[in-house]
């Protein structure tokens, strides 16, 4: 499994979407991959997003199952540090504590963390 780590906030340059593009790149070539949201990357997961000049990331994430990307994970400690409750997140995100996140990274055969 290729693990793509989303750790940048949304709508502050191209980081979030260029990182997502790597995941889509693997997916369109039929490779198994998953997304992991940590640090300020967890802001990308908020349900209510209304960007004015960039594409809506939450809508992009809704397309992931169409690309065959079934698994998206988020670190519990990153949410807690930012005061974000799980109910505020878009659907389909599995919240893991740090130990499980470490295990996930260890299990991945490739890690892309821009």
């Amino acid at each position: 499994m290729q693990l793509i780590i989303q750790r940048h906030p949304p709508y502050s340059g191209q980081a979030a979407s260029e990182s997502l593009d790597i995941a889509l790149g693997f997916a369109v070539m039929d490779q198994d991959c998953a997304l992991l949201f940590v640090d300020d990357g967890v802001w990308q997961l908020l349900r209510e997003q209304a960007p004015e000049t960039q594409k809506n990331l939450a809508k992009h994430f809704a397309a992931l199952p169409m690309y065959g990307i079934e698994q998206s994970y988020c670190e519990r400690e990153s949410l807690a540090a930012r005061g974000i409750i799980e109910d505020a997140l878009i659907d389909g995100i599995t919240v893991l504590d740090r130990a499980a996140v470490n295990a996930l990274i260890a299990r991945a055969c490739g890690v892309f963390a821009l």
């Binding site: 593009d21 889509l24 790149g25 997916a27 369109v28 039929d30 594409k55 809506n56 809508k59 992009h60 809704a62 397309a63 199952p65 169409m66 690309y67 065959g68």
Partner: protein
């Protein structure tokens, strides 16, 4: 005409799209629009509205499969409809941007 389309013939503004335009673009690509074509083209537009991106081949297949079932949602069927270039032509006829360069 020049400023409605980009250098590759993709519509610049998806909201400008009309069915008549779609017929013209299709015609220029050697595609004669049947109800089967319209079904897929409309789904591509729905995909764009839902996810804010043009579908590449894999998501297009899955999206068509989700809405019309596996008889339609498979690459053989879509490739036959759109002369072997399903993702690119579907977006073009649907007035959407070309599916991402990088992918």
């Amino acid at each position: 005409m020049a400023d409605i389309y980009d250098h590759e013939g993709f519509l610049l503004d998806p909201s400008m799209w009309t069915e008549e335009m779609a017929r013209d673009i299709a015609c220029g690509e050697g595609v004669d629009m049947s109800e089967a074509h319209w079904q897929v083209v409309r789904l591509a537009r729905q995909f764009y509205e839902e996810f804010e991106m043009s579908p590449n081949m894999r998501p297009l297949v899955n999206y068509v499969k989700r809405h019309l079932g596996p008889d339609y949602g498979n690459s053989m069927y879509l490739m036959r409809l759109f002369n072997g270039s399903a993702a690119k032509l579907t977006s073009k006829i649907a007035g959407l941007p070309k599916p991402s360069n990088c992918l």
